[in-house]
Every structure is written in structure tokens, then in C-alpha cells.
Amino acid sequence: MAVKTESKNGLMVCRVEGDIDISCSPDLKKVFDKLIAQKTPKIVIEFSKVTYVDSSGLATLVGILKNMRSYGGRMRLAGMSTKIKGLFEITKLDKLFEIMATEEEAIAGL
């Protein structure tokens, strides 16, 4: 798993590549802990190169959202494959997260 971050239009875009599973969820959390410590107001996580997410990955993303909301931050997810979006739908996390089809759509209006 790798995360590339880019500051863009006043928000932070985080492009994740690879698997978000139990072996790399702690690394993902560390990346976002730094952004949260800086009270980054708006984050878009881009998923188009994410190949796999397990329940520990979902739990990590929920934790990131919870921490961002604690200081009024906003987060959107973008570019998910149908398979991965299906996991959010099964767990009803699609109701908790703002999930947009593309990065551009996620940035717009955030």
C-alpha cells in the first residue's frame, strides 16, 4: 500500500494504491493521523488504484472520518471500483461516507 498526498484547490487529495487490509491499515492510519493532527479541514481519498479493502481497512477509514469530524473536518471518498463500493453498501458505510464517482466530483463543492 502507498499513499500519495497532494494539496489541491485548498484541500488535500490522498491517492491510495494497493490493498487496504489488516497488514497495512496501521500504516494508512499513521498517514492520516498526521493530517488530522494538523486539523486538515478537507480531505479527498482517491481509490481508483485500490485493489482490495477488508473489514480492518473499513474500520480504519471509519476511524479517520470520526477523528476528522471531531474538529469539523470533512472527507470524501472517490473513484472506487464496483467491487469495493459493494463492501461499503453491504456494511451501509455508503450512508456514513460521502462517496463520489470521481476525484473531480469529490473536490467540487467540498
Binding site: 477488508d54 473489514s55 473499513l58
Partner: protein
């Protein structure tokens, strides 16, 4: 006895999860399951093994997890058993209920129940059996 049944025993360490799921997926190539089925099988096998390691055996490296799998009538069967005290799957909080949405646990079991065709637990709650059609 099930034909072509393969059994693997691993220590309770996260690093073995992917090794086992990869072996299961490789064994399925003669049956030609589509990409979505392979994704579901990989995820559910890994969720079940992770639960066995983390919740069942409490990551005690002295305890083992046994994984068995076989194909019967174009259906994959996977059994995952740990050496822990077991749990009551009916008592796992529903992760989709409003008050539980921010909780960390419970999603693995829900994903397994939704993505596999049949799922059952033994009475003790330390063994799960999952079935998924390959076509």
C-alpha cells in the same frame, strides 16, 4: 470424506493470512470462477482467518488456526477453526445499526454472511463453514 480436501494449519499470526487465501484462489483456476467471485472468496477467507487469529485465538502464537477447503459439485467449501473458547455469532452487534456505525468490529462477519452462499458455525462458535458456488 470430502474429495480433494486440503487442510492447512497456521500459527496465529497475521502474516499467514494472505498465504492461505492465495493457496485457495490458486486451487480454483481449473473451475474458472469470475473475478467477482474470486474477490468475494479471498475477502471472506481472509476475514474468517483473521477473526480466528485475532478474536478466536487472541493472537496467541502458541495456538493454531486450521483451514480446510474443497470443491464439491462446483461449490467451494471453506472451514476455518481456531483453538479459542468460541463466540456466539448471534451476539455480534449489527454494524449497520445507527449506534454501531462508528464501532470497529462486526463488519467481517456481516461481509461473510452477505458474500458467501451458505455460512454456519459450530455450537461452540470456534469453527465457521462457508460455501460459495464457483459458477
Amino acid at each position: 470424506m470430502e474429495e480433494n480436501k486440503v487442510s492447512i494449519e497456521i500459527p496465529s499470526e497475521i502474516k499467514y493470512i494472505r498465504k492461505v487465501s492465495s493457496e485457495i484462489l490458486e486451487s480454483l483456476s481449473p473451475y474458472g470462477p469470475d473475478e467477482k467471485r474470486l474477490f468475494d472468496i479471498k475477502l471472506c477467507a481472509e476475514e474468517a482467518i483473521r477473526n480466528a487469529i485475532v478474536h478466536g485465538n487472541r493472537a496467541d502464537k502458541k495456538l493454531h488456526v486450521r483451514v480446510s477447503y474443497w470443491v464439491e459439485k462446483d461449490k467451494l467449501n471453506i472451514v476455518v477453526e481456531d483453538e479459542g473458547p468460541g463466540f456466539d455469532p448471534e451476539k455480534v452487534p449489527d454494524p449497520t445499526e445507527k449506534g454501531n456505525m462508528f464501532k470497529e468490529s462486526g463488519r467481517g462477519v456481516r461481509l461473510i454472511r452477505k458474500l458467501m452462499d451458505k455460512v454456519d458455525f459450530n455450537e461452540k462458535g470456534n469453527r465457521i463453514r462457508m460455501e460459495k458456488a464457483l459458477k
